[in-house]
Amino acid sequence: MATVAASPTYAGTESGEVTGLWSWLTTVDHKRIGVLYLYTSLFFFLFGGLEAVIIRAQLAGPNKTLVSAEMYNQLFTMHGTTMVFLAIMPLSAAFFNFLIPLQIGARDVAFPRLNAFSYWVYALGGLFITFPIFFSVAPDGGWFGYAPLTTRQFSQGVNIDFWVLGLQILGISSLAAAFNFITTIINLRAPGMNLMRMPMFTWMSFVVQFLIVLAFPVITIALVFLQFDRFFGTNFYEIGAGGDPLLWQHLFWIFGHPEVYILILPAFGLVSEVLPTNSKKPLFGYPVMVYSGILIGFLGFGVWAHHMFSVGMGPIADTVFGLTTLLIAIPTGVKIFNWIFTMWGGSIRFTAAMKFAIGLVALFTIGGISGVSHASPPADLQQTDTYYIVAHFHYVLFGGSIMGIFAGIYHYFPKMFGRMMNERQGTWHFWLNFIAMNLTFFPMHFSGMLGMPRRIYTYDAGQGWDTFNFISSIGAFMLVISTSIFVWNFFRSKSHGAIAPDNPWDAATLEWSIPSPPPEYNFAEIPLVESRYPLWDLTHPERTSEIPHTHEGWEEQDKAADAKAVHIEKDRRTAAELGIPMPTPTIKPLIVAAGIIIMFSGLLFIHRPSKAIAFTLIFSGAAILVGTLYAWLLTPLEPEHH
């Protein structure tokens, strides 16, 4: 019964407006920020997908001339950069933002304004790195920008400048968010929510934040070196001065490998929420799932040079990294088995979310198998830089991350927007997507094995690649259709979807114990947690009877004065009525973010004969940044009250 009534809106604050552009620009509410991330990242996902479609159109047959070689370079560079940094990471961030405080029983993240700042830096940074393509000056050195190709000598134009600066900007966003979520997960858990009772999504996200903290500084420095080489004439990647071309590669991949675990672990976490709920069984082997997630994160720092097996590191390095890469398959495989055992013996409900979750289990496994084959240096010597690799990472990123994220969207849409997505359209989306995805990427295993290199804009006929490429391109066009169904479903359901109950999936974790969408304060009374599946304790105690229930952590109770045992809340009163202090909305995070973008964009002009533009931008950006930052830090988060 879809009425055209307005979606249940977010409850208003005392001082700000409920709706309207200004309320979104000044929000510091994690739920709204999560929704902002979701919209923006979905936009970039579509944009990156469009770039891919053009690539596939160009490669549909031999020697096509749809785009020039130079534009092709920009397309595949931006497709990769967009998908990694502007789509998948922020889609995960949408869930970090929306879900983590709800899952741990908190009212918001530890630093709400910093949270808003992270979003605005991402949004503005995303625009910064995307708009050049409209002027045909988009980055064109591959998403991994190998130096010395990307040095000024071999890439004179402004393209790589946009890439380097854009990534630095985006790195700030991710790092700030990581500090925020680490603090939130450590410090804002409800009483009784000890670490081994946290939902799996929060656990995987926790690991991911540490990966961000440890990996992003390394790419920051790699980019600084490239920046300095390009703008100030340093020698980090200058072969003539003795520079080592491998320096970039090592630094990049020390970041790059943990980055791919950053991309997949949140999706794993979402699947670990969806599968048990729709199997009506607790997750199989929860502790093992936690430890394997931690192990994947940790080992992820020890495998990076498997991206460099062909550069001549020598047999010892090759062997070491080959071994560590094989090793990391173990905890990953463990997770696959645990998901299967979760479903085994359960009462499966095939919602759209469930289909996508199971899809991840299947498709990620395929990607994992090709991944294991890359772990062997001699085998990889044939595979590297061919479409075989492209097949692998699209199976794990599209079949893995994106599928997991779709599962999360279908599963959490009701909680976010108070309406249900259309299940029938969801089913169409799933099957079309599943078939199209396999049509697009499976043939790449073959064309890759037959020697088709990556990043070529045309190929001659008769090398055995033609049919495979053609099938891939058909698959890509089919993906357009399936994704369109999803987009239609998403936006239509926001205004016309069936009104969602608070717990449509009969799920177990705290976010389902409050209304859909949640009131601004999340919990009227902070729940006291005594097990891993708080809601099932109330609604289906037989499912959780074997899991220990203790009141460990409840002595914190006296500090959380407004706490009470886990309960279902239907309250729709405002924070003011309940006497809950809420943070004041503020535009300052957006302005600080804008200051940073302005400052960085000044560097784009540093090579002009007149330095006036460059210095004006740099100094005014810095002034805006520092001035507004001072104002921000000296303003209390919440209004004073007695």
């Binding site: 530890a110 630093f111 790092l175 990581a178 500090f179 925020n180 680490i182 603090t183 450590i186 410090n187 804002l188 858990r189 009483p191 929510m193 903290v213 440890l214 990996a215 992003f216 500084p217 390394v218 920051t220 420095i221 790699a222 600084v224 070196f225 300095f228 100030f232 004439g233 340093t234 020698n235 980090f236 003539g240 001065a241 003795g242 520079g243 080592d244 320096l247 630094l251 020390i254 009227a524 009374e525 902070i526 914190e556 500090k559 959380a560 004065a561 407004d562 706490a563 009470k564 009163r573 009525e577 309940l578 006497g579 809950i580 202090p581 001072y630 209390p636 919440e638 009250h641 007695h642």
Partner: protein, 227 residues
């Protein structure tokens, strides 16, 4: 105003009185996470310096004499250990002053009997001392940088110049940010006084400051002392 007795205590949730799982201040947790990221930042910079050690094609060099053809004329090793030792002392002493500043803020309300006690207990004094020593360190760095440029080593000259100036430049930038931060705390101390309740803010600044010192300990050994 509250809806139920259970919610009465919410009024007590006044500004700054929020529940936490660990009983620790969130800002302190965040600064340690930040310091973790800085470990990796400086590890990358230091690694690059060490990787490129000895690989510069032209001079000047840090510890070795540079003879033609690597240099136009014979150049002496460019690092100045005595001067840098002095700046290292300065930074180490600034950490001591920082610790005393924090203690002074925490103990502000304790009775002070002797002149020594009052000296120790003056947060303004120790914050000034830390700032000034930090600025002195920066002065030393500025002197070192300009004299190196005079002797023919700039950031573009060779691998040594690039990696050295970038590493120590980043470190110096961190010191500068620290001095500004401490200066702000000092201004607040003058404006309204730093109470024990503000100790957490001073503590966080102190952790940052000490970390910057600790990075210098690593840099001094790895770059200056090890040949």
């Amino acid at each position: 105003m509250s809806a139920s007795p259970a919610l009465d205590h919410i009024e007590a949730g006044a500004h700054g009185h929020h529940y936490t799982t660990t009983g620790l201040d969130s800002r302190k947790i965040a600064i340690w996470a930040f310091i973790g990221s800085e470990c990796m930042l400086f590890a990358s910079l230091i690694s690059t310096y060490l990787i490129y050690k000895g690989r510069s094609v032209v001079g000047p060099f840090p510890h070795e004499v540079c003879n033609p053809p690597a240099c136009a004329t014979t150049l002496n090793p460019i690092l100045n250990i005595p001067v840098t030792s002095a700046s290292t002392f300065v930074l180490l002493m600034s950490s001591l002053c920082m610790v005393l500043a924090l203690a002074a803020v925490e103990n502000r309300n304790l009775p002070k009997h002797t002149f020594g006690d009052r000296l120790l207990g003056s947060s303004k004094l120790w914050l000034w001392a830390t700032c000034l020593l930090g600025a002195m360190f920066l002065g030393f760095q500025a002197y070192e940088f300009t004299s190196f440029v005079h002797e023919g080593l700039s950031i573009r000259t060779n691998l040594f110049g690039s990696s050295f100036f970038t590493l120590t430049g980043f470190h110096g930038a961190h010191v500068t940010a620290g001095v500004i931060w401490l200066g702000t705390l000092l201004a607040i101390d003058y404006k309204r006084g730093l109470e024990p309740a503000d100790a957490i803010n001073v503590d966080i600044a102190a952790l940052y400051w000490h970390f910057v010192d600790v990075v210098w300990i690593a840099i001094f050994t790895l770059i200056y002392l090890i040949k």
